[in-house]
Structure formats: structure tokens, C-alpha cells
């Protein structure tokens, strides 16, 4: 009994703190409207705030050539760092996070998925992904002006280089690489749903098609100022819809199309090494500063605010999951606190840069509790085998974050007000388009080269069956 008393009290305390934060968050927007307009003018073309950019003098609408003195050394240094941090989230962060959760016979295959996706998406991004996502074209898809990154340049002699219209103070090369790391981690996240049973060849084909037909368009809709969801005013600071809901719903589609793992529910499938998972979760957390604070595309006050929101929401979510699990299942687990932290990181992703520290506590707690039930109860009730909870953590956490961004977005910080209804457009579109396209791509692959390994291969383990290697 006393064993349950501690988490219960702690959870109540978190809840009370959150209520106070809620009240405080409701008060703040009116506090300093003057600084909001100043911010909006000082930071033209912030990536996820097209509305703010509209006030500034004619903002550029496409990548352009500028002289090198337009580049900010501080912004560029931070964005180079952020790019490295976000790449680290996938390799080795996510690879280890997932690798520790699978059975020992599948760890190499799981690590391999993250690594191979990193290579594959990099090349796709060079070929067409960047152009489709981040150049102006139609409302539905970017143009072809940066095919093979053609025209993206730095000319030492002339003292000129290109910048993206979404990031005027850093070289376009840095912006393209920064966005690439997002394009890498998104498909890598999906792998958590189909772990242990997809053919490697089918995985490569799926990721190629998904990256071009799902990720690039949605990134364009939400983040490129001419995209139709951006025009609608959907707020997504660092990728709640584009990255997390998108990856999560594709995960749900893939575990539905693939079916359950052999012996699911009958044979024990405990994680084989939670040490790896803990290291992975920690690397994800550290890397997420590049993800969220980097999405300011500047070394400025908004980046600092995004960093604070990220740290605080993550801690709140990790504690919320841990205490909820303590109450519901009797023990606070390592996997639980790590999963809670990731849920918090996911949920604060769209909100960071729009909300203050107090609102991030509320978002964190909501994400921790809701994702706990999504990963434990919802999965059981609906009966799908989302092996590592890509849907339960990323899609559900992403939805929580995207909607609460509408509630808490502060004009003082962001220069724009949020609206839950507008956010629903972003969430709904991503869910429907993401699910439908993923489902169709997967079915097509299943009908042609086949999606799933044979039963023998699955029993033997993907490490040996697919890669001819194993660990002791």
C-alpha cells in the first residue's frame, strides 16, 4: 500500500503544478504585446511562422544568391551543431533505442535499418527530396529547381553563396543538411512498428517511396511558406505533424499490413538489453536540442526558449509515465521512464518555440500519461502488434503535442496565436494522407516483391537470415 502511496502523491503534485502552469500560461499572452511585434520584425521568415513573416518587407520566396556578409556566423555555427545533433539522434540514438528493445536475434537487423535509412534518404534528398520539400512550387509539392541540389552553391572568389528563403542567415547547404537529418529520422522511426519481421529489400523500397511520396509533400505543405497547410496557419515548430504523427501513422499502417510477429502474445518477447535502450533514449534527448532549438534556424532567444521547453517537457513526461506505471503496474521501470522521456520529446516538438516553460510542463505530463495508456492498453484493446510502439508513442504523442500547441501557443514568444481547429487540419491531414499512402505503398510492395520474411527466417532471427551475422 505504502508502495503505491509515493507515486500517487507525486502524480497529484505534478498535476497541481500543471494546473498552476495552465493558469499562468493563460495570463501571459497579454502581458507584453510590444515585444512580440519587435520579435516578428527581427526574425523574418522563421520557418514555421509564415504569418509573422508577412509583416516584414517583401520576404524572399525562393532560394537566392547573396553576398557572404549576409551570413551570421553565430547562426551558422549553431545550425552546423544542430545538424550533427539531429543526425546523432538516428545513428546511433534511435538505432540503440530500438536495438535494445528487440530480441537478441534481431538486434543487428534493427541497427542496420537505421543506418541504411540514413544512407538511403541522404541520397534521395540530394536527388529530389530537398527540392520537393523546400523550394516553392505549387501548394502541393515543391519545384524541381534544386534537383540534384543544382544551383546550391558557394563561390569563394565572388564572395557569394545561396541561402534558403526559409533561413536567410545561414548557407543553404547547412539548411539543406539540417532538414535532411529530419528526413532521415522520420522513416527510421517507422521501423519500430514493423521490427522483427520485414524483409530488408522491402524495407529499402518502402522507405524510398515513402520518403518521396509522403515525407517530402507533407514537409512542403507544413513548412514551406507556399504549402497549403502553412497558408492555413498550421503551427508545427519542429515536426509534430511532419515527423511524429507522420511516422507513427505509417507505423500503424505497416504493422496492420504485415500482421503480428510469430508467436505474438504466446511467446515471451522481452527487450533483450535495456542498457542499449537507455543509452539510445539519452542520445535522443541530447540530440533533440538540435531538433527543437535548431528549428529556430538561428542562435537566438527563440532557440533558447525552445531548448528550455524541450528540457522541461521531457522531464515532466518521463516522471508522469514513471509514476503512472508505478501506480498501474507496481514498479517504476527503466523502459518506462525512457519511453516517457521520448513521449515528452515528441509532444513538445511542435510546441517548442511557441510555448513557455509552464505550458511545456502541461504538455509533458499529458504526453507521459496518454502515451503510457496508448502503448499499454490501447494496443492490447485494438490488437495490433506495434512492436516497439512507434504508433503509441510517436503518433499519439505527436497528436497530443500538436493540439496542445493550439492551446498554448503564446503570441509573446511566437508572434502568432494558436488555434486548436487549425491544428486539427494539420493533424487530420497527416493522419489521413499518411495512413492511406503508406497503406497503398505497403500493399503494392507486398504484391510484388513481398513484404515479410518467411516463417523460418523469422524464427531463426533476422540477423542471421538477412545479414549473415550474429552477436554473442
Amino acid at each position: 500500500m505504502t508502495n503505491k502511496l509515493i507515486p500517487l502523491i507525486a502524480l497529484c503534485a505534478l498535476g497541481i503544478g500543471a494546473q498552476a502552469a495552465w493558469a499562468q500560461a493563460a495570463d501571459t499572452p497579454a502581458a507584453a504585446p510590444a515585444s512580440a511585434t519587435a520579435d516578428a520584425a527581427a526574425a523574418p521568415a522563421a520557418p514555421a511562422a509564415p504569418v509573422a513573416a508577412a509583416e516584414a518587407p517583401p520576404a524572399p520566396t525562393e532560394p537566392q544568391l547573396v553576398t557572404t556578409d549576409k551570413i551570421s556566423a553565430g547562426d551558422t555555427a549553431w545550425m552546423l551543431t544542430s545538424t550533427a545533433l539531429v543526425l546523432m539522434m538516428t545513428i546511433p540514438g534511435l538505432a540503440l533505442f530500438y536495438g535494445g528493445m528487440v530480441r537478441k536475434k534481431n538486434i543487428l537487423a534493427t541497427l542496420m535499418q537505421s543506418f541504411a535509412i540514413t544512407c538511403l534518404v541522404t541520397l534521395l534528398w540530394w536527388i529530389v527530396g530537398y527540392s520537393w520539400a523546400f523550394t516553392p512550387g505549387s501548394r502541393w509539392l515543391g519545384g524541381a529547381s534544386r534537383l540534384l541540389m543544382h544551383g546550391m552553391t558557394f563561390m569563394k572568389e565572388d564572395g557569394k553563396l545561396t541561402v534558403s528563403h526559409l533561413a536567410l542567415t545561414i548557407p543553404e547547404t547547412v539548411y539543406a543538411m539540417f532538414q535532411l537529418t529530419f528526413a532521415i529520422i522520420t522513416p527510421a522511426l517507422i521501423a519500430g512498428a514493423f521490427a522483427d519481421r520485414m524483409k530488408f529489400s522491402a524495407m529499402l523500397l518502402f522507405m524510398t517511396l515513402w520518403s518521396l511520396l509522403v515525407y517530402a509533400p507533407i514537409a512542403h505543405w507544413v513548412w514551406e511558406p507556399s504549402g497549403w497547410l502553412a497558408v492555413k496557419g498550421v503551427l508545427d515548430y519542429a515536426g509534430g505533424t511532419v515527423v511524429h504523427i507522420n511516422a507513427g501513422i505509417a507505423g500503424l499502417a505497416s504493422c496492420l499490413v504485415l500482421g503480428k510477429r510469430l508467436g505474438y502474445g504466446k511467446v515471451p518477447m522481452p527487450p533483450h538489453n535495456l542498457t542499449y535502450t537507455m543509452i539510445g533514449a539519452s542520445l535522443l534527448w541530447v540530440g533533440w536540442f538540435g531538433f527543437n532549438a535548431g528549428s529556430a534556424v538561428a542562435a537566438d532567444g527563440r532557440a533558447g526558449m525552445a531548448m528550455a521547453a524541450t528540457q522541461i517537457a521531457t522531464a515532466a513526461a518521463a516522471m508522469a509515465w514513471m509514476f503512472t506505471e508505478w501506480l498501474a503496474k507496481g514498479k517504476p521501470s527503466v523502459l518506462g521512464i525512457a519511453s516517457g522521456a521520448v513521449a515528452g520529446l515528441v509532444a513538445i516538438t511542435p510546441a517548442s518555440g511557441f510555448v513557455g516553460p509552464s505550458a511545456s510542463v502541461v504538455i509533458g505530463i499529458a504526453a507521459g500519461v496518454v502515451c503510457f495508456f496508448a502503448a499499454t492498453s490501447l494496443k492490447k484493446v485494438l490488437g495490433y502488434d506495434d512492436s516497439l510502439d512507434a504508433f503509441g508513442v510517436h503518433c499519439i504523442g505527436g497528436i497530443v503535442g500538436a493540439l496542445l500547441t493550439g492551446v498554448f501557443a503564446s503570441k509573446e514568444i511566437a508572434g502568432v496565436d494558436g488555434s486548436v481547429v487549425t491544428q486539427l487540419w494539420g493533424v487530420g491531414t497527416t493522419l489521413i494522407y499518411g495512413f492511406a499512402m503508406s497503406f497503398v505503398i505497403l500493399k503494392l510492395i507486398d504484391m510484388t516483391i513481398g513484404l515479410r520474411v518467411s516463417e523460418d527466417q523469422e524464427r531463426e532471427g533476422l540477423d542471421i537470415a538477412l545479414h549473415g551475422e550474429s552477436i554473442e
Binding site: P268, P270, A328, G330, S333, S339, A375, T376, S377
Partner: protein, 112 residues
């Protein structure tokens, strides 16, 4: 000669080894094993999925001893390997027919 096979709690291994060395035992074989006895298994929960672990990790020690040393070896393992709780393990004693040292070809008592 007897072969003493002791199944003990893994964290007791160092204590047991030290006690046996003090008795003059000059070699042993140690294996990480899994099994169950009265302790049975335990339950693990990962994201709400409960797994019953039927086999508990234990350490198996095998020592070949000359007959006069047998009782002392059994006592030493009992005293150092014991926590008093269920799951302390067991000691099996079996007859040992022959021992050969591979390097020299020595046999039995001189090979132990």
C-alpha cells in the same frame, strides 16, 4: 574422489571460491546456468506486457575433491553460499571414477 556440483546464487560466487581456495581446492569450473527449484521464476513487465520468467539465473560450480576433503568442501559451500532465503541452491555429490591431467598424463589423486 568425488565431484561436487554446487548450484548457487551468482553473487555468492566470490565468497565460495575464496573459502574453497583456503581449504586447498586448486581448481574449479564455473558456469552461468538457468533453472528453477522452490524459488520458481518471477514476473517482468515491459510497457504493460507481462512475462513470466520461469528459469532463474544461477551459477554452477564443479569441483573435484579427494574423499577426505569432501565434508569440509560441503560445509564451506553451505556457509559461504547461504543467505537463508529460498533460492540458495543445492549441492550434488557424485562418485568420480577417473581424473586425468591432459598435459602430463597424471591420474586421479595427483591430477586433481
Amino acid at each position: 574422489m568425488k565431484l561436487v556440483t554446487a548450484i548457487i546464487k551468482p553473487f555468492k560466487l566470490d565468497d565460495v571460491r575464496r573459502a574453497l581456495s583456503e581449504l586447498g581446492v586448486t581448481g574449479m569450473t564455473v558456469t552461468e546456468v538457468r533453472g528453477f527449484g522452490r524459488q520458481r521464476g518471477h514476473t517482468e513487465v515491459y510497457r504493460g506486457a507481462e512475462y513470466t520468467v520461469e528459469f532463474v539465473p544461477k551459477t554452477r560450480i564443479e569441483v573435484a575433491v579427494p574423499d577426505p576433503l569432501l565434508d569440509q568442501v560441503i560445509d564451506a559451500v553451505m556457509q559461504t553460499g547461504r543467505t537463508g532465503k529460498v533460492g540458495d541452491g543445492k549441492i550434488f555429490v557424485t562418485e568420480l571414477v577417473t581424473v586425468v591431467r591432459i598435459r602430463t598424463g597424471e591420474k586421479d589423486a595427483s591430477a586433481i
